[in-house]
Assembly symmetry: D3
Homo-oligomer: 317 residues x 6
């Protein structure tokens, strides 16, 4: 396993090349997969407890019992990062993925009830190097968000507070957003027309010096979003949760998204309309928060992404 | 490939043991998978055109372009069945699965937009022997349906008219139903409290000689359901689509589900309440329809499932 | 009034240049305007009774009492058309507009209640030549419909079955559609994600030889749509009303819109996806209906619009 | 222009008698009009920046670009008030109206798409004397609010946070309220049954010393409401935003509305039920706030409205 | 029991004066009561089977098991009517009431779960003379229906297809309707703004010769409504179920309600607006149906109600 | 009346055995009953003002006017408790019930409008000994809450902020919960899938040291819940109101219900999943609050319920 990234699967640490999932796994057949994703700063897992606890809460809700305790998962994560991080190269960082499914069994033949009796969950921890080169443009030109007609799945169907892989609506929303702009990202509305999140990040906006977030009902309670809440508190910036609508996003002074892989990226257009006065990529509140975050992480987040050292290969770590 | 089932994957016919999907495939990472499933009767694909056309309609909606035309898919299906069916053994039948995903690419790093530029769809056709032994109890004791608090995903999020694999809500609904009865199947309501479908089959009920179906808004337009519509027409039975509620299901004279693997199975309880007068497993309308279907298929559907010849192994065909 | 079009306003027939509305009219201040619009064929009002009766029904609902009876309105329409039609030039046709408002009064100062006591409705009938040159491209290339995130106003707020002028949502929806394609038209969804209508026309689709319309809840009961229902009946084509979703529009065999000014125009794309197999502008059912309509109207509808005789000037008739 | 009020229209200052709008203007045909309204105190514009900034935010959302910058609009407002205010007479005050439409073009022929290519927005600033005599009874007897069955248009259709003129639902709601009481004002509920606003003012209630407002989702963020928030803060009164229902309005200790023309008026009945204990017109919190507001404005608001000097004529200023 | 009406309660036939219900009965404490009501024509139960079967279906849904079979209930009804009808006097008719509750137990102390273990249902059949004098004005002047802001309870909460006694919303709706007109009856809308029913009767309207009913989702499937469906079929009148809105009710040619006690009564006003052309109390379709119904019942329904023989006393029969 | 509990009914104090309600009372026929319930501590009414004021607010909303003033109701309550409490025996406590109905009249014959003219409300105050033996298991094993598919009635139908007796949905929800576990209690969701309350108590949860409550829209503003808010404030525990979903309840650290009869009881399972880490019946925050409450009440609440002195008889006091 020396030169190859390690994967933790079904209780064992394996070389990535030996890890595989059955096509009859419920995770694949139903998208019944609970997941989480953290990143490293300087080759150390960031907010490890937050991610693992959220993952275990999601499992509890979905009634898929992880085969090991949260503490053991943290220990294995540390071990996996220690082995895999050097493979990401100098200046590289890792994403670590957790996922669990109800398990592999004879086929989902019309109903899980048919063969659901005695499943053994499929639990996996793996990593890959963060593709900084793909994030560069978010920082160079900012994001263009588009509200598609496809709506976010509501919590009474699949609660977005559990990080999961039944996200066809994200794909559909992205196709709609790409009709407007090939590099746009969808900002999904909920069934009452309130703003939720993009297909993979939390959305925040700034109006008159206050940071506003959608209420927690219809969004992932992102760990990066939590970091922003803490930084706002530290910097004396008000952070308010409430129902927001497209109007609020289109008339905001600033807007940005938060997500584990690239922390925070500025929004520069919503539905084709320039955010704020359009004079810079990322407004003053965004820049204060990013600076404070970089200090806390011990890494210049923006520079790391824009720098030449981002991995360009797609080899999984 | 002689003794092993064939799988059609990425344009080639392979032995099943050589077919695999990347864990970075969007189908796995997002559940962004379009699928369909047909079965054989007497080792011949049943309603091949219906299934393939629905699959291509779903792909069109999801903007995932299959690499080959519908006609070619039908031809390959015939070829695959010819090769794999004998492996299902005498008296066995096949299920044939189609699935397609946006493709495999560098990771879905927070947003498909990051690396979504030039994906090649993953398109696969594979088969497995129908596990008749798992269906036996549906015909021996009938189904117990339970309405869970988890609701069906609405069409403005992910249209249930496209057969897809973002179905975590089905898993969640099943866990709720199993709290009531370990062998129960969930009957999901939509967001307005109307009946939709179970986690894998259409639901129909009979009241005063008329067959009622939920309106098409929130259900898969099942091919088996379509067969029932045709048989109703042939037998002079009225078939009516309209919004149905739990009350209708609990006070029906008869109820049953339709689904490709086992065609039609009787419902004998809804939320713990006996369907109809409880004197038989499957009422008179159900039995007429099943008989007519068996005639059309050239197979005694019930006898085939209850008979000793059902495959008990889980070897994929 | 000889060389100038006539306008019927506040009980009198006036030259267009002498007709004006106060900026304190409730129709302008609140958009509280009931309207209708008919067209001529060969300089004769088409479906005069249908339009006038719908207008009077809308007025009844809105509690704005027209100062004259429906019969008198029809008589004045005939008179107005007789005077104005010749001014549309050879080959030209007229649109005739009815509108009525609660009236002109002292300002809507925070609440209509303030000064709403004794209003005299503003009732007007005027006409303009149909701008065929603007419709040409609908027939040459077909329409591209886009489902915007802006939703149709529901009937419990402002019933779309009353033709009215509180349509800012149409403007907003158009701006969203134009982000995708500068010549696209929005196809608005209702609050449950069902298809309603475009910003000015009814939407119909064809699947397997059947014409489907959205249910009447959320749409104008268009007179042109009614003509299509009658023609379907005459031609033996099934016409079915039911809740339709974006999926239905994107996987239809054909689709088209109906509207008074240009009768019927083919849809060739929905959300960027080609309608049907894309081999022609308007499918076989569309063409049969348009032919039958032309026969009924005594005018080749398509030829009239595509022909060189369409008015290019914007002088109001 | 000496003896006549000035109107700013299409870039020029005109005498009111020369200002007119085409009946083909989209603002009239579609109600696609963005508007705002401020008032003077002692012949000076009050909260000029707040009104102008809201107006520009609304324009941004609606994608109608004002031909001049916000600063220039403020300058012209000052100029217009200086010219028109003296015409309101001693003791009179002005309302200043802003409105903008997509512009005047050839007709909205079935779809704005038809001729929407190159519109020039119609932008107007005009004024009229505040009709204090119409407001007198609000202060003398208080308001009777009635919740009609007509619901407020939701933000996913037309966001009430943009001040606009597609308000037929206000007219309809008023007709319903007048069935109960010819001088009643409607208090519209949203689609979930929460209180929103009246047809032209914000609604606030008091329970146990706390001022409650509906959450901002479904209401205009009124400038007068903002004044009340500031006054509450200054006076040490809690101001809480949350979803309110009819029950809250009918069991409140006090209730009142806020609106630019008459600032604040007490509510004395809701759905026929006396507000509070019915012992006075306006409760103690209302009176404290009104006094503080009068101090801030330098005008006794109530006395000005009740006094003999209110304009009785309807001549526009 | 000779001179006194009989009541069937807890398995025994009792004189009315000896029948009483505990104030700790769940029917009283929770309104958890299933009920039904039939009437006699010429002292014979009308549509006895329809009423009893609906009652038993409702009980099945509510999981309250009647202590006797449906057949026995019909037998007892006949017996009760035979005894009580003569007490209604000549020309009088009876209403027969069924009701059942979960039973009487120690108190519902915060939760039925507390003491819900072993309840014995309270089942009662009683009668009273139909108070024709109260119905007279419905036939003399017609009904005024008002749509209140209070909405009908949806089927996912309490299905209106089960006749029950948790109807506080009916009381609330009536209070709102009475604000408009002391003799008005509320016509409740559902949560999407569709018409449902009044507080005690089904609503039907006529437009261009077709009878329209709200879809069955949100209404009691009234036995009188079913009679109208049968009569329409016999008379060749189309009967269509679909979502109807206030607009449809206010622009109908005719409207009427159906209900067991007085069969059918004409609607002459909706929200203050005259129904149809206002020339008669009850339109031509209404009159044809009432005549046909009278023929079927063997009683002139209208004459019986308007005649002098209606009971004026309130003594229960 | 010496040895028998007193009941206040229709203006007079009666022995319980002489108090009865007509079966034609609207409270019984419609469930149109407003109610409230308080308890004693050490034979003294607890939070008497809170309960009586809520009751009077509910009456105001429902337009049922109590025949006496709130102060008089409080005086009678004190008198009734003084007489009845000794009958509850040593260690016993009373529940005091208020209820009022529109009154008794001739039957609700199809519509209250028929005979609603001049009703006299039925107003009653009675008491019963708190059945502590029924509450014991709540404290010994904790509660199992189950989210049923039946939803809570929304405030636009019957506002749950008024304590009333139209609660068939509670009964239906309990039947569903009992399918899972015969001793489970339903936790009802609202129409958007948010948590509301159980069938008789408020629900609160604890996450990371903060107490969360559903927003007030869809719940009774319980007096016991108010006590918890006050105790939280006193103990320095944050209390937050916001929309909560099933996910929040299933992943909470602690959960409990509050209700007048037994104050606070711990939740140990939600939908079959153990609450918190399952190590104790009631978590640390729950225990702190209960201790503080016992101090305030002067009674060890838990000991009183678990002690041997609880009344086991069902004799009403």
């Amino acid at each position: 396993m020396t030169g190859e990234p390690a994967v933790y699967l079904r209780g064992r640490m394996l070389p990535a090349s030996e890890a595989s999932i059955s096509i009859f796994d419920f995770g694949i057949v139903l998208g019944a997969t609970i997941t989480d994703l953290l990143r490293t700063f300087n080759h150390h897992p960031y907010r490890l407890e937050d991610h693992v606890h959220r993952f275990y809460d999601s499992c509890k809700y979905a009634r898929i019992k992880p085969p090991i305790l949260a503490k053991e998962t943290m220990r294995i994560t540390e071990e996996l990062v220690k082995h895999n991080a050097p493979l990401a190269g100098p200046g590289g960082e890792l994403a670590v993925v957790y996922f669990i499914t109800p398990g592999e069994n004879f086929v989902y033949a019309g109903s899980a009830a048919a063969g659901g009796a005695d499943l053994t969950p499929t639990f996996c921890i793996h990593s890959f190097p963060l593709p900084f080169h793909l994030f560069r443009r978010f920082f160079e030109t900012g994001l263009h968000l588009v509200t598609p007609s496809t709506r976010h799945v509501p919590p009474e169907c699949i609660d977005p507070k559990i990080k999961n892989r039944s996200r066809l609506h994200w794909w559909l929303a992205e196709q709609e957003a790409h009709l407007v702009d090939g590099s746009a990202m969808p900002l999904l509305l909920d069934l009452q027309g309130n703003i939720t999140e993009t297909s993979g990040s939390n959305f925040l906006l700034v109006k008159k010096g206050i940071v506003y977030s959608p209420a927690p009902r219809n969004i992932l309670l992102g760990v990066s979003r939590k970091v922003v809440i803490e930084l706002c508190s530290k910097l004396g910036i008000s952070f308010v949760e409430r129902d927001l609508q497209t109007h609020d996003a289109m008339t905001a002074d600033e807007a940005f998204v938060t997500t584990t892989p690239y922390c925070m990226a500025p929004v520069t257009k919503v539905n084709g309309v320039t955010t704020g006065d359009g004079t810079s990529i990322g407004g003053p509140i965004y820049r204060r928060l990013l600076r404070a975050w970089s200090d806390e992480a011990g890494v210049d987040i923006r520079a790391q992404i824009l720098g030449p050292q981002g991995p360009n290969s797609v080899a999984s770590a």
